[in-house]
């Protein structure tokens, strides 16, 4: 098969998995759309170092199955390839997320003042934690539709992981420029982040499952848990 005249660039460009071609000293020569998004969560230097670590010993390519996380982006494998001393390519494979079959019946979600809901959950948390707690939020956030009961259950479970923390910082804000499509509607994303000096991570998987059930993305890190909540207004 003669592939000389086929333009592969379009296919690489639109691949969901990030691909970056580095030049000498880690300078980016090319990156696809997915890689551009990935650079919002990590640095070029970090990615270049990863490419060098997992590069094959000789010219050619090597695929390694390893779990790598850059903030909310989770990968299960990567391929590093080079055929000369000038260029090295890195491709990361996105870990598929479980997709719940449920659809959101937005009419059955209650119109909610998200700050009031969060305050109620914080009040419960403060019964079990005497540490220093700070809350950074936007009090002008408009009401949104949310499953108040299940969201509160999720929050209780999350806060349970922070009971031993002596310092907890909570941030609630709307993410600018990112959207989620729900029933053909583009919805904004509300980011709720709980960060502390120490946290328990034993129930991370259960929390991620609970979050998924209310169509929320849960990003668990060593010292924090971040939720991406669909900000449904209508």
């Amino acid at each position: 098969m003669n592939s000389e005249s086929i333009d592969f660039k379009f296919f690489i460009e639109s691949d969901n998995n990030p691909f970056i071609l580095f030049g000498v000293n880690g300078k980016i020569l090319y990156l696809n759309d997915a890689a551009e998004i990935m650079l919002g969560y990590t640095t070029t230097q970090n990615l270049y170092n990863t490419a060098l670590i997992y590069a094959p010993k000789n010219f050619g390519y090597k695929t390694t199955h390893v779990e790598i996380q850059y903030d909310m982006l989770l990968f299960y494998a990567l391929t590093v390839a080079y055929q000369n001393e000038e260029q090295i390519g890195l491709k990361l494979y996105l870990k598929p997320r479980m997709d719940t079959a449920q659809t959101i019946n937005t009419d059955k979600l209650q119109v909610t003042n998200i700050n009031a809901l969060l305050e109620a959950n914080i009040a419960l948390f403060k019964i079990h934690n005497n540490g220093n707690l700070t809350l950074l939020t936007d009090h002008d956030l408009p009401s949104c539709r949310i499953d108040q009961n299940n969201f509160s259950k999720l929050m209780r479970k999350i806060f349970d992981l922070f009971t031993l923390a002596s310092s907890v910082h909570i941030t609630l804000k709307l993410i600018v420029g990112e959207y989620i499509i729900i029933q053909n509607r583009r919805e904004q994303i509300l980011q709720l982040s709980i960060q502390a000096d120490i946290r328990n991570s034993s129930d991370d998987q259960m929390i991620q499952k609970m979050a998924q059930e209310i169509h929320t993305l849960c990003i668990c890190k060593a010292d924090s848990i971040t939720l991406h909540i669909p900000f449904i207004q209508k």
Partner: protein, 244 residues
């Protein structure tokens, strides 16, 4: 209003804050705590107009759940098959003396509060005793100044025993001679059986008399003089009555 709920306990104040914030939300909450720890009073003050259902009457509860979007369920521990209840899009406040299945409670309720018993909120005891003293003085239309001996307050059954011990102390301080006589009359009427009962029940008079005398006058010598009895007789009585 819950501002009237008497407490200095930070834990209870946080429960009040949490429940107050859920007043406008459709979430399920449960307040668990020992009997008479103030759960019902607190919930009633926070949700004065809410409809009540009793966990002991499941049929009525299910009926009320269908009609109302806000419901207070008392005696929740008496309910069986609670996993079959549906609280979606409702404001449920359950009150339970204890829970039997932690897992089901965990999956059913978003907000789980533990009401501390009085022995764990010592900061509330004097406050509640003072409130009860005011209550009893009003109820008994007591004229004279009355004081509470805080060492004699009983919190073993939370508000139930505390109220009882405050009422008892006030009652004991406010009786006049006629009432004491009447009280003893009723007591003897019930107890006298006819076998040297004079000797058997004489301690009821002698013991408090000598104890109070010793506390007031300090020495046996002086008390014997005050009572007009021989000091050897007094010493013998102290021994017989087991007075320390």
């Amino acid at each position: 209003m819950a501002e009237n709920f008497i407490t200095n306990s930070i834990q209870v104040q946080n429960i009040i804050k949490g429940l107050t914030l859920t007043k406008s939300l459709f979430v399920s909450s449960i307040l668990i705590g020992e009997p008479h720890s103030g759960k019902k009073t607190l919930i009633h003050q926070l949700f004065p107009t809410a409809i009540y259902a009793d966990g002991a009457n499941r049929a009525q509860l299910e009926q009320l759940l269908e009609i109302h979007e806000e419901l207070i369920i008392i005696n929740f521990e008496k309910l069986h098959n609670i996993e079959k209840l549906h609280f979606k899009n409702k404001r449920i406040i359950a009150i339970a003396n204890h829970i039997t299945n932690e897992k089901i409670i965990d999956s059913l309720f978003a907000f789980i509060y533990q009401m501390p018993p009085l022995r764990e909120r010592k900061e509330d005891i004097d406050l509640l005793a003072a409130h009860l003293l005011g209550e009893v003085k009003t109820n008994l239309a007591a004229q004279k100044d009355l004081a509470i001996d805080t060492d004699k307050l009983d919190i073993s059954k939370n508000m139930l025993s505390l109220r009882r011990s405050v009422y008892y102390q006030v009652f004991a301080q406010s009786l006049d001679e006629t009432q004491i006589e009447e009280m003893l009359y009723n007591f003897f009427l019930e107890r006298l059986k006819g076998k040297s009962d004079y000797k058997t029940y004489l301690y009821l008079f002698e013991k408090p008399l000598i104890e109070a005398g010793l506390k007031k006058f300090g020495s046996q010598l002086k008390l014997a003089d005050i009572l007009g009895i021989n000091r050897n007789t007094l010493r013998k009585k102290i021994y017989e009555l087991g007075i320390d």
